[in-house]
Symmetry: C2
Subunit: 370 residues, 2 copies
Amino acid sequence: MTKTYARLTPLADSLPATVPFVGPETQERARGRAFAARLGANENTFGPSPKAVAAMAQAAQDVWMYGDAENFDLRSALAAHHRISPNNIMVGEGIDGLLGYLVRLMVGPGDVVVTSHGAYPTFNYHVTGFGGRIEPVPYKNDHEDPDALIATAAEVGAKLVYIANPDNPMGTWHDAGTIQRMIDTVPEGCLLALDEAYVEFAPDGTIPELAPDDPRVIRMRTFSKAYGMAGARVGYAIAAQDLITAFHKIRNHFGMCRISQAGALAALQDKDHLAVTLTNVADARHRIDSIARRNGMTTLPSATNFVAVDCGSDAAFAKSVLDALIEQDVFVRMPFASPQNRCIRVSAGRPEELDIFAAALPIALAKARG
Amino acid sequence: MTKTYARLTPLADSLPATVPFVGPETQERARGRAFAARLGANENTFGPSPKAVAAMAQAAQDVWMYGDAENFDLRSALAAHHRISPNNIMVGEGIDGLLGYLVRLMVGPGDVVVTSHGAYPTFNYHVTGFGGRIEPVPYKNDHEDPDALIATAAEVGAKLVYIANPDNPMGTWHDAGTIQRMIDTVPEGCLLALDEAYVEFAPDGTIPELAPDDPRVIRMRTFSKAYGMAGARVGYAIAAQDLITAFHKIRNHFGMCRISQAGALAALQDKDHLAVTLTNVADARHRIDSIARRNGMTTLPSATNFVAVDCGSDAAFAKSVLDALIEQDVFVRMPFASPQNRCIRVSAGRPEELDIFAAALPIALAKARG
């Protein structure tokens, strides 16, 4: 009989070894071939500010030093940027890392958390990982459903209710007033986790005013999307000071990469690059829409750096289209839940990547149809 | 009456907002003045390989992509380096991050963990943060005490027993045979966490043979010390495949910085730079010893990139010396627990930093003596 030395907790023992997303490199290794167009992870293929790249190259020489555990310079710059106090800001290892900390702070075995069915799987992974129970709410017309989310949160006594605005994977969004009403109606004892990863891409009128001392909501932002620094792992949370302070109970204080800290600081200051990126992304969204329509498909309006392309049939058909795109070296993904999984999700890539997508799509459709 | 929205778990609620170490930047801000010699965090002031710096500068341009969630290239290179299988290796966000994952996997409320009194506080922080109870074992002659650690683990039914070899904060070490005997006597139901952060600095005969399928031990290594990349946050664990796989249950799959992945890969391949670093560090240790002796002090033998300097009196005296060094812009730290806290801990810095230390020490001693 084998002896056991590593005794996992009952919770850890019950969890599957899993991954919320299969990464493109993993797929490339399985395929034995690189992707020609990397349009599946909503990365910003237009890249980071050259000033951020230069700052990171410079910081690489100083990487023998641990990063500043307080993220002081970056928090100060973010505070100035948002005109709020640095005490309302927590910088962390991407929104993924911050969501993990938030869930750890609030969710224990049996606690209930409300989110949309088919929304961000990494959030669900954290909730399950700490023993929480997900209460899913259906999308409504390809939008997350704020009223139903709040009503369900009240009904089940949820500790957390999650919404992404704009939404991933559909790209749809609600206006600021709708989200503010959501904040205003969060039931007592429940916190709204408002994931604004894509908010820089959204039209005016999408972002409720920052009221950082509002105890009802924590807002998550990132350098992974509009700032083009997904690989650097820099996100931040804006919340009431009590809640921000609670992160110090459990966070990995020296967990931030020093190079990433320097890069984010420089990226934040390069407003021109951000403006160019937003234009590039808007152009790419239009281009994806044109490509789709030329192939007899429609797209969903998007306030993000990706577009949900409606394949016009069921999930099996969308999956066939997706598979046939991947076969042609185009990395894309698709929503997990019905009926959103009639779509494929295409990131707003560079013109040369969208050329490849444009060439591959009709072939993929023909293959899926026949 | 204020309404509550963020309801923390009872465990999170019970934890203090804390930090295992106050970082040098935090101290600099409090002092209003930069340090002239950064010798307190056991950073490798000789810096990373120029090849690693170049690889990181290159990777900064590609930072719009998430890092490979499998850390495949780095794990493969590490596997070749150690002549083991990549399946026995887990790459993570520094040893701090990996210890956090390990504790989360194994330690729940009421579980007991054994470590030395005054050993690595970040490990204790993780244990407490998951509700575990620390059972501390005294040092013996400024060494961690393998026999007492194992005996205590058996006595209290510990799930984890931690030792760093070489040790931090004392720099002392045990030979491979002693550590192997520790592995061989770990009680059933208990895992040995062997922190080998400093092992590259140790003399031959310190490292027990890697037996990666041994279920009794998990070994932790890092790029923060000998490889001079503390700010990059790259560590790795070597353990039986079952235990490595368990990390996939809870880890932040896309948590690694892409730039750091590239840097670690390049650093691992630059064996010449590592050899030069080891020589530089050995020279610096000798220099610290000379400086100490010139001031009538002794040092402990060290197998790390720092030296514990015995101030020859009690903790209060050592603290006075430390304060007077900091006042002179020399960042150093000291052990937390008695009687080790009669020492100050000085990192093996560059000659110009040790010049500053050499000039500051007699003044600090005079001041401490009154």
